[in-house]
């Protein structure tokens, strides 16, 4: 009897891992091997992670006793349909350097836990891939989803092609199994052959240098006076502020940055330039209308929806401005008075649900009208609020720079707390204000900046992004208060 070939497959429910397992076992049996496959899908077939296990042996007519579950250190070939699931099997101990060949695509299907993070909750994909490379006997890791898309095949067919070289079964037996299965035979055979012929990832082309944003000549001197590594970001900031409002507004952007040239390290300066540009072009009602009128949008939508030539594509925007979004475009005084009135009447929670079809003239004109309100922006309530925030933020950075560069960097980073729309934006503002009031300002006011200044700000920022209810932030602030009292 030949040495067994034991194959473990990890997939997501509904992805057809069972089909891949059946192709393999079916081909092995047809090619004269004894093969057995089993699985535990159950409710995992509803998008959860699951595994399939196959044993292939040359039994010479006797009936072998085959295991129904893989054993650590007893898997010759491992195939994953997704990178995290590959790492999960690695953690189970099933991939060993003495025998396991690993096949895994590099793409990610994010889990709900990764997706619901308020910032970036994604697992480190490079670390996952690296760990597979470290612990496998050998591996084929690549962009197999792209290969599948190119051939029009299911990812499974490409994976089968890749796997075929590492099983004792003849390649033709796999082709026959695909044909017998009868599902999308032509495309899957193309995918299988592409996988079989796969010869490693092409050497990664050096990323095309990003052309720096075009900006008017009269800004060039000011930009060039800034740290060299920051200039790409600053140019983008200039471009963005012009697009947002005007040349004068871009000048304001540069004027706000200028005092920090020479005082801040290049890394801090770059981050400052980045966050300042984002904050100065925050998404008010006018900005949203501007963005939604871009000519490139319809082409993007068509491509995303895979519309064919000749199809007509309609785009319907889901907008739901509340009183604040609508009124904050008015001059600050008027807006405040009207908002107070709305509050008294208990209308603050009200909003107008709009479904605006921008591929019709009526919807287009409505957005056009909103975008045309740009002229009101400089004196608007929203601008007043944003400017007040930006001034305070810059002032705190300025003060911190004199005391503690690391803390100053952390204060720059707090800008990521303020984002989104409606309640999300308000919560972000409130969280930021708590950190400024209860951590940054007291620590700046101390005669000598405390040693844990930077850490405290960082902890608070991370806590503010941990849960939308602000529970973690409250507890971090409380523990920092206790530290101070002690």
């Amino acid at each position: 009897m030949s040495a067994p070939c034991r194959v473990l497959i990890a997939a997501l429910g509904g992805e057809g891992g069972g089909v891949l397992a059946s192709w393999i076992a079916d081909a092995a049996i047809a090619d004269g091997f004894a093969a057995q496959r089993t699985s535990v899908p159950g409710v995992a077939q509803r998008t959860g992670g699951t595994t399939y296990y196959i044993e292939i042996v040359k039994a010479g007519g006797r009936r072998p006793v085959m295991a129904l579950a893989p054993a650590p250190g007893g898997v010759e070939l491992f195939i994953a349909s997704e990178l995290l699931e590959a790492a999960r099997v690695l953690h189970g101990g099933f991939i060993t350097a003495d025998r396991t060949f690993v096949i895994s695509p590099l793409h990610r299907v994010y889990t709900i836990q990764e997706k619901i993070a308020m910032g970036d909750g994604r697992a480190d994909a490079d670390a996952l891939a690296q760990s597979l490379k470290t612990f496998a006997k050998d591996h084929a890791l690549g962009d197999f989803a792209a290969l599948a898309q190119k051939t029009g095949a299911a990812l499974n067919a490409v994976l089968l092609g890749l796997a075929a070289r590492h099983m004792p079964v003849a390649p033709q037996a796999f082709r026959d199994a695909i044909a017998r299965d009868g599902r999308a035979v032509e495309a899957n055979l193309r995918g299988f052959d592409a996988g079989l012929a796969y010869a490693g990832e092409p050497p990664a082309a050096a990323p095309a240098p990003v052309a720096p944003a075009e900006i008017p000549h009269n800004f060039a001197a000011a930009v060039e006076a800034m740290p060299a590594v920051s200039q790409t970001i600053v140019r983008e900031g200039v471009r963005r502020t012009i697009d947002f409002q005007s040349l004068a507004y871009a000048q304001l952007y540069l004027d706000r940055l200028a005092p920090f040239t020479g005082r801040a390290g290049p890394e801090l300066f770059t981050e400052l330039a980045r966050h300042l540009a984002v904050r100065m072009t925050s998404e008010d009602t006018v900005r949203v209308a501007q963005l939604k009128l871009r000519e490139s949008r319809l082409a993007q939508a068509r491509a995303e929806a895979r519309a064919r030539p000749g199809d007509i594509v309609h785009v319907t925007e889901y907008l739901k401005p509340g009183p604040e979004e609508i009124l904050s475009i008015l001059p600050a005084k008027t807006a405040r008075a009207l908002l107070a009135f709305v509050e008294r009447r208990g209308w603050s929670k009200g909003s107008i649900a709009l479904k605006v079809q921008t591929t019709r003239i009526s919807g287009f004109l409505m957005l056009k009208f909103l975008a045309s309100l740009k002229f009101m922006r400089p004196g608007s309530l929203r601008a007043a609020e944003e400017n007040a925030w930006i001034r305070r933020w810059l002032a705190l950075i300025d003060l911190a720079l004199a005391k503690d560069q690391r803390a100053a960097m952390e204060i720059v980073e707090t800008a990521r707390l303020v984002k989104g729309y409606g309640d999300t934006w308000k919560n972000g503002q409130a969280n930021w204000a708590r950190i400024a009031d209860e951590i940054i300002e007291p620590m700046l006011a101390a005669p000598a900046a405390p040693a844990h200044f930077a850490d405290a700000v960082m902890q608070a920022r991370i806590a503010a992004l941990a849960d939308p209810e602000g529970a973690r932030l409250a507890s971090v602030i409380a523990s920092l208060g206790a530290l101070k009292a002690a």
């Binding site: 159950g42 619901i116 929806a305 594509v313 785009v315």
Partner: protein, 713 residues
């Protein structure tokens, strides 16, 4: 219409003598039933045994030929009660369900069936949902076999053995007048293998050849005093010895390895393959199960034949019992047998192996190594394997210190139940938390992120009943969630009738998606009638009215604001009593299976078809992901931010989107952001579509915009 089509499996069910059957374990059981001349089959769906019934429901032709009655029972109690036909009549019947939960539901009927016993063979096929992949409480079916004196088969996971045990199971049932349970673990149900088929047998009495006269009145056939006292004695004085005799005479249990050896292993049949792979690692067996150590494989785990056990143990220093799950029924029974036989053999089991949890290769290997080492048998190969896997685990922990994000199952893309949970989460923010009584079904995924809702789960269709005392002991009314599957399974009586009778306050949401979806979209009484389906279109609303429920609201789930308002109104309604919300929305998996091919055909024919999907504007999205925290749709994901000024990933709708609109509705209902847009793709547009679009293009151009010319797009 079930989720999977069984065209090929149905063909293999008709194979005749000599042909090779290839397929899944549970379908091998199905074929074995037909080879055993079964007259009727029933059951309730659920992994891992659901396919047994699904395939028979579809195999109408062969069932008609053989005259087999196939019943889609409304719950496991109904299935167990159906076996009552075999009490009075010499006809063979089989039923199936997921255990432990299904056996719990069936318990009353099982006791009443076991007491009088059966004339015709009665087989209960249970999926032992234990260990990896299990969806239920971790308990053993074995307990039911013991308490009701049912025999329990646990065949080793090898198709010919499984098939033989089904066939022998009927004979054993008839020889001892006792219903027999056959348990298959998850992987055994799904194992693909082969066996040599026999011809199917048409039963002497069946749909095609009915019994002329009913059985004569015979009090001994009733589980009713005074004969219950006689029946209890009969179980132990006559039926048990008859069963033990049959088990020995027909060699249902198997012995492997050399007779003379200091040690021995007694293993549940279902665990034999796992044991053999560890014996191989210990260099005590090979790939064909040629063990160098004596092994007694119990394909029948109840009853044991004491003489077989003591015969196997006699002359041995020590014996290891490999028995998965708790309590250690076999170990206790074997200990008693050895004590009574006066044998000095030392008994190992749950001391070297864990009491609870699945016997994975590592767990089993560790226990086996300890048993061998403690009894002076070298175990070096096994120990070095254990050491290597342990070292690997340590190296891994050092290399990848952060725990990997878990991937629990979740509601599918476009699921009609998701918007109900979104609405509940939005409402929770507005009115504060409410006690939520959860239930079994797809909606139990509402207990996972991002919804995290549900205070208790008490069983299938039990949500409303489990809220009864809550409703009467706290200020705010509880919300109970129930699927239409759970409603017909149990909830109608234990929940609704009880709540009406007791005039309990509370809100019940019935997820009316049209099928028993979590188990594979089987038809239930309220499923829409179709030519090849079993649905009868029974109206849930009328049923509730007939039961005296006064407050009934109906809402289409995808309208999230309306769901939230309906729920709020129900919670705030002044009148006392049960308030039911029927949340309508067809299972999206079933819907897509139906309409996708229809639409593809229509597009190919050149007909006008509008396809809808959603998208996120990456420039407008600020990457806070509040939409995902309220939706959780698999097709609403994240992607890297292309904006050089931002780093947090933006929300993104991938190509699995079915255009249900929940993400857009959520952003409206919770007033999140203006990033969502609906895309309607008009395929094969009509002349009017094109004319209108051209007109819009001209008008938009006049105002400085540009609409892509569809002809050149």
């Amino acid at each position: 219409m079930v989720e999977v089509s069984f065209r090929r499996e149905i063909e293999s069910l008709t194979l005749g003598a000599g042909a090779v059957f290839q397929g899944e374990g549970i379908l091998a059981v199905t074929k074995a039933l037909l080879q055993s001349g079964v007259s009727y089959v029933g059951g309730y769906q659920g992994a891992p045994v659901g396919h047994l019934l699904d395939v028979l429901v579809e195999a109408t032709g062969e069932m008609r030929r053989l005259g087999v009655h196939v019943e889609t029972c409304t719950n496991e109690a109904a299935a167990a009660a159906m076996l009552g036909a075999s009490i009075n009549y010499p006809i063979r019947g089989a039923v199936t369900w997921k255990s432990i939960v299904g056996t719990n539901v069936a318990a009353d009927a099982l006791s009443n069936l076991a007491s009088p016993g059966v004339k015709g063979g009665a087989l209960i096929i249970v999926g032992e949902d234990y260990g990896e992949g299990a969806a239920v409480i971790q308990e053993r079916t074995h307990a039911f076999a013991l308490k009701s004196s049912l025999w329990l088969l646990d065949p080793r996971p090898d198709l010919p053995t499984i098939v033989r045990m089904v066939e022998k199971g009927f004979e054993l049932s008839e020889a001892s007048n006792t219903p027999v349970m056959l348990e298959l673990r998850i992987r055994a149900c799904h194992v693909f293998g082969s066996f040599e088929a026999k011809d199917n047998i048409a039963a002497a009495h069946s749909v095609n050849s009915r019994i002329e006269a009913p059985a004569p009145f015979e009090y001994m056939r009733l589980s009713h005093p005074p004969v219950t006292f006689i029946q209890e004695n009969d179980k132990f004085q006559r039926r048990l010895p008859a069963a033990q005799k049959f088990i020995l005479e027909h060699g249902l249990n198997e012995t492997l390895g050399p007779a003379s050896h200091d040690l021995g292993i007694i293993v549940q049949g279902g665990l034999f393959n796992a044991l053999n792979s560890r014996l191989e690692a210990a260099e005590l067996s090979n790939a064909f199960g040629d063990a160098n150590i004596p092994v007694l494989i119990l394909n029948v785990t109840h009853p044991l034949a004491p003489e077989q056990i003591s015969g196997f143990c006699a002359g041995r220093k020590a014996v290891l019992i490999v028995e998965e799950g708790q309590p250690d029924f076999l170990e206790q029974a074997i200990g008693q047998i050895l004590r009574k036989a006066g044998l000095p053999t030392k008994l190992f089991g749950k001391d070297v192996l864990p009491m609870a949890g699945e016997y994975t290769p590592r767990v089993l290997g560790a226990g086996l190594a300890k048993f061998l080492r403690d009894n002076g048998q070298p175990a070096a190969p096994l120990e070095s394997w254990l050491a290597a896997t342990g070292a690997q685990a340590q190296a891994l922990a050092a290399a990848l210190p952060a725990p990997l994000p878990p991937r629990p199952p979740g509601l599918c893309t476009g699921c009609p139940e998701r918007p109900v949970f979104s609405a509940m989460k939005i409402l929770r923010k507005e009115i504060g938390p409410t006690h939520v009584s959860a239930d079994i079904g797809c909606h139990s995924f509402g207990t996972f992120a991002p919804f995290d809702q549900g205070n208790s789960i008490l069983g299938y269709g039990m949500s409303l009943a489990s809220a009864a005392a809550v409703a009467n002991s706290q200020a705010r009314k509880p919300i109970s969630i129930m699927g239409d599957g759970g409603f017909w399974h149990n909830g109608l009586l234990t929940g609704v009738a009880g709540s009406v009778l007791n005039r309990n306050d509370g809100v019940l949401i019935i997820m009316n998606n049209g099928y028993s979806s979590a188990t594979g979209a089987q038809d239930i009484p309220s499923s829409a009638p179709t030519p090849d389906g079993r649905g009868r279109g029974v109206d849930i609303e009328k049923t509730l009215k007939g039961m005296g429920v006064e407050f009934i609201s109906r809402v289409r789930t995808y309208d999230i604001r309306k769901v939230a308002k309906t729920l709020k109104d129900a919670l705030n309604a002044p009148a006392k009593g049960l308030r039911v919300i029927i949340a309508d929305g067809e299972c999206q998996l079933a819907r897509q299976r139906r309409i996708k091919p229809e639409n593809a055909k229509a597009v190919a024919r050149g007909e006008r078809v509008v396809r809808t999907r959603f998208r996120v504007d990456p420039e407008v999205c600020t990457g806070d992901h509040s939409c995902i925290r309220l939706s959780g749709c698999p097709s609403l994901t994240v992607k890297p931010n292309e904006d050089p000024l931002r780093t947090d990933p933006v929300a993104h709708v991938n190509n699995d989107c079915v255009g249900c609109g929940v993400c857009g509705e959520v952003s409206h209902a919770a007033q999140l952001c203006p990033s969502f847009a609906r895309i309607d793709i008009v395929q094969n547009p009509s002349a009017f579509d094109r004319f209108r679009n051209r007109l819009a293009g001209i008008a938009i151009k006049r105002f400085g915009g540009k609409l892509i010319d569809e002809a050149r797009a």
